[in-house]
């Protein structure tokens, strides 16, 4: 499986270590450690799931179902260090399954959108008051949607499983790495050195 290093943000090694530690303690019999794991990882799963394009309500269900899956099949996580990836991958696969069943596909290719995508104005943009964040939001909004989604995933997930990312974004697995590179370069260019 292709991987890349953790970006050092909310999915920094501290969070990754906290999740691994909590999972290990839970499996060793410390019941309250599961609560810790849920509190640590649920926000990460939220962003992973929302990046698939599901609405907020469906995303919340997917996050809950992911945890049910873990509790029912914790034995299948053979390596405690793999817990963050296991959770994120399970969440993404469940999100993908749900989005397939409600059929909200977007047939327009990014290359087409690329040239036409307007600067998005949405209620979300009103939330951005900080100048630097406003610039980033504008720059990000000018990227193809697929780029936005991929960057959200890799920003929030320490070591994503590229095959499930490929399914979610409906891209060949081999193109995830190069696309990530291209999207980051585009974002950097859009920002023009202002970050």
């Amino acid at each position: 499986m292709a991987t890349h290093g953790a970006p050092g943000g909310p999915t920094s090694s501290a969070l990754y270590d906290a999740a691994t530690d909590a999972f290990r303690r839970w499996r060793a019999g410390e019941d309250a450690a599961l609560d810790e794991l849920v509190r640590t990882m649920s926000p990460v799963l939220w962003h992973v799931v929302r990046a698939t394009g599901l609405d907020r309500e469906a995303a919340e269900d997917v996050v809950q179902n992911t945890w049910l899956t873990l509790v029912r099949s914790a034995e299948s996580v053979r390596d405690a260090q793999a817990i963050t990836r296991w959770l994120c991958t399970a969440a993404r696969r469940e999100a993908w399954r749900v989005s397939k069943s409600v059929t909200r596909t977007r047939p327009v290719e990014d290359e087409v959108l690329d040239a036409r995508l307007p600067v998005q104005t949405s209620p979300e943009s009103e939330v951005v008051t900080n100048d630097e964040k406003a610039l980033l939001w504008e720059a990000l909004s000018r990227l193809p949607e697929r780029c936005q989604r991929l960057l959200r995933i890799v920003a929030w997930e320490p070591r994503p499983d590229y095959s499930s990312v490929a399914d979610t974004l409906e891209m060949p697995i081999g193109s995830i790495g190069p696309t990530r590179r291209r999207c980051l370069d585009k974002l950097r260019a859009e920002l023009g050195g202002s970050l």
Binding site: S42, Q64, L68, E75, L136, A155, L184
Partner: protein, 166 residues
Amino acid sequence: MTATDDDLLVAVAGLYADLDPAPADLAEGVLARLAVEDLETEWELLTLVERVDTRAGTRGAAKPETSNTVALEFAGTTYRVLVRIHHTDDGARRLDGWVIPALPMRVFLGPPGDTLGHTRQSAYADRDGRFEFPAPMSGEARLWLLPQNRHGDRIVPPFVTPPFLV
């Protein structure tokens, strides 16, 4: 200076955390759902075998206080649960109990008809089988006791008390 990939990703993560934050109660919702999931298994209904009411007063104090303790004992095929509900005149309540034989358990306190699990309070029974709700709900309630089975342990089915008054 040009931002590194990591700088950009940290900023992107922060932006989405601001723009589309996870619901504040996301983790609580997950925990409630997990509790309900647990509770959908087969439950053994315990039977009330004894109830003792004790009223105690402190005499000699400038402001005499009285307290009332109700002790309940429930029994099933293998386990007994002893519950004490302690009331004081100032309206404070406390509920504690023991599971015999001692076994680590997750203990839920909630209204009898509460199938959704959202209004349940939870506590852990320690290795001695003791558990406590320092500020329990009031009214009719029951306790759900879920043994924390671990790999290699004998599987102990969960059990539930009949409704009682807190």
